[in-house]
Symmetry: C2
């Protein structure tokens, strides 16, 4: 008995018609002999509607009650999908996260899965039923309902795939797979046949929005191959695998763009040991996620220190940095909201020298100035002016020959 886990996002189950199409897809696999476990998100905008409803009651809903509220979205989806599959003449049974034994910690609104008791699922699969599980939710040891945070349904799917020892795990979404870059920016963008977990993680952290990092991390940890594909057709999507299983040998897999960052520069910082630590300790204590940090060479005992933060945290970060600036007797701060991060990602760069130089050359040829650079083992990021963002992505994408 081969087991497949399929996960369908909100756009795939946006309305009854879409749900019927999902039912047909699930049944087509069931007919081929697969034992099916299906994870479903809330219908279309349901979650946003529930959040809006809570917003009419209070600006500060208790997290436990928010989870109680939001978890109804997925519960509606699983019931409707079970009905649609029954309507096609196949036996199906729906479960909430609690019913199916998805145990989490007590961190409401972003709980971590601790354990899954897959016995009930295995029993129902053994009885020939399609098992449908509400994504995004779990239950604490006290039987309180929790939700798993953004991308939670993907996480449910991956964790279930592990728990039932699935032979395949498919993530259905509204795009056809993972592309070399955003096709809305570069029309030649090519759908990747396969990508490694590490590349996907890097791309997710650099701005690609197809999957959240947490579910990829879990898939990597347990070596569960994921197939990301579209629920609107039957085309192959992109496989997410461990490096050893990738057949193709591309140096670079993709180019990402992130326009949701801002840069803060602290000017004329006294160049003494511990000063940088003082700044970033304060900023990180406030929960702001500092990314790229660049420190200029010291000039007459003073240096400039630049770092990037999410655009949404700018106001908080600015007022915090201003206070620290006074405290450490630095010259002042500069804020730049017009930045963009262009990154290349690829496991191949570990073994191919000259990748960074090639990227800088691509930008130089288009007269695009680079204000900051960071690298990881499998990625290189350049911070540039926002107005050049799309031009830079196209230039880099072309330089590495990523197009069709």
């Amino acid at each position: 008995m081969k087991i497949m886990v399929q996960k369908f996002g909100g756009s795939s189950v946006a309305n009854p018609e879409r749900i019927k199409l999902v039912a047909e897809r699930v049944v087509s696999y069931r007919k081929k002999g697969w034992s099916m476990v299906v994870v479903v998100s809330a219908l279309g905008d349901t979650t946003d509607e529930l959040i809006a409803l809570a917003g009419q009651i209070t600006d500060d809903p208790p997290a436990r009650e928010m989870d109680m509220l939001l978890s109804t979205g997925e519960q509606i989806s699983v019931a409707l999908l079970a009905m649609a599959i029954a309507e096609l003449g196949y036996r199906a049974i729906s479960f909430t996260g609690a019913q199916v034994g998805i145990k989490t910690d007590k961190t409401h609104t972003k709980a971590k899965i601790i354990d899954i008791d897959a016995n009930r699922i295995k029993n129902e699969l053994g009885g020939g039923k399609v098992v449908i599980v509400a994504g995004f939710q779990g239950v604490t040891e006290d039987q309180d309902i929790t939700t798993l945070g953004r991308g939670g349904s993907d996480l449910t799917a991956v964790a279930l795939a592990k728990a039932v020892s699935a032979d395949a795990c498919e993530i259905y979404t509204d795009v056809e797979g993972i592309y070399t870059t955003d096709p809305r920016i570069v029309t030649e963008a090519r759908k990747l046949k396969a990508i490694t977990y590490d590349e996907m993680l890097e791309m997710a952290s650099l701005g690609a929005q197809v999957m959240q990092a947490r579910s990829i991390e879990v898939a990597k940890k347990f070596d569960i191959p994921l197939h990301v594909r579209s629920s609107f057709n039957y085309n192959d999507g992109t496989l997410i695998l461990k490096e050893a299983d990738i057949m193709e040998d591309f140096v670079i897999s993709g180019v990402t763009l992130n326009k949701n960052e801002a840069k803060i520069t602290v000017c004329d910082v006294p160049d003494m040991p511990g000063i940088a630590a003082k700044i970033f300790k304060e900023v990180s204590k406030s929960g702001i996620n500092v990314d790229t940090i660049v420190q200029n060479v010291s000039r007459k005992g003073y240096t400039d220190l630049s770092f990037t933060i999410p655009l949404g945290d700018l106001a908080k970060a600015k007022s915090l940095t201003e206070k620290i600036t006074k405290f450490i007797k630095a010259g002042g701060i500069l804020v730049d909201k017009d930045i963009a991060r262009v990154s290349i990602v690829g496991v191949g760069m570990k073994t191919h020298p000259g990748v960074a130089a090639k990227m800088f050359e691509a930008l130089a040829q288009k007269s695009i100035n680079i204000s900051m650079i960071t690298t990881s083992e499998i990625s290189i990021s350049c911070i540039i002016n926002k107005k050049n963002a799309e031009k830079a992505v196209r230039a880099v994408h072309a330089k590495f020959g990523l197009g069709k």
Copy 2:
């Protein structure tokens, strides 16, 4: 620590504004020192909307999945009410039927409560929290979600009142209480201060729609006084009590009207033993609830047999009766859809003679013909022509001096 159970119906929590008003009411009791258990129905039309959603998927949804779907309505309500109470600065915690240990049998869509494990509620009450419980739902021993059928939230409230040994149980609705008759028909209709369980049961079965019979039966069984009142003001409503606790001594408590019945007459039935049994055995086997039955005196070995059924079952009952008519060689059938049932209800009629005569006199004075009569220990019903229905209710209501 005195415990109060309050139940709020769908119209009382139709939108966020209404939910806030319910929160204020609950908190006003909490401030007075009551330990509060609050049972809530789904927001306004939510249940109907969910049923419509299922209807777009299938005409024949599996009952288990229907319960999975519908139970989300109350889950949304409890979460929102908990938020609204928290917003007022009081601690509240919401529970699904499953979380709070409302165990039912497996009869999906109309499950029976088997047991309630009130420990979690008592613990939370002991900790000073307002406990909010989703009405209308429970859970089987297999952890499958069930719903309790029409009037299910009332049943949840009454059963919880028993389980926590509540000192008071209030049922909030969109009317001010139980009236001597429908105020839309008789403007002088008076709100009753109190009514017995038996009278309320009789009125519910005769067409009054304020409360379903099941929850009244449970309240009677465990002697839980109910206070039916409006969520739109703070006026006293109507108490539902055992007879011994009623102070006032009215002969008649109310007049009810039911216009949702039809009459079938089987003509020229051979008057032999067992014939009536044959007819009603067949009809009841089909699930149709036969009410009043009248058999005329025999004439030359033949008799006429009339009975009433719910209007919605007419087509089914008619074709069934036609078959039986042929089988027993009766003359044929007559169908009358233009009937109405006017009833008087009152425990006083057990000890006061002449009540029936007084009712017939009231109708005679208005020249209203009575086609069938039935009586129970505490009620008398007359079947009349539908066109006289409201006139009859007004005449009887006046005759017994029930008005203000």
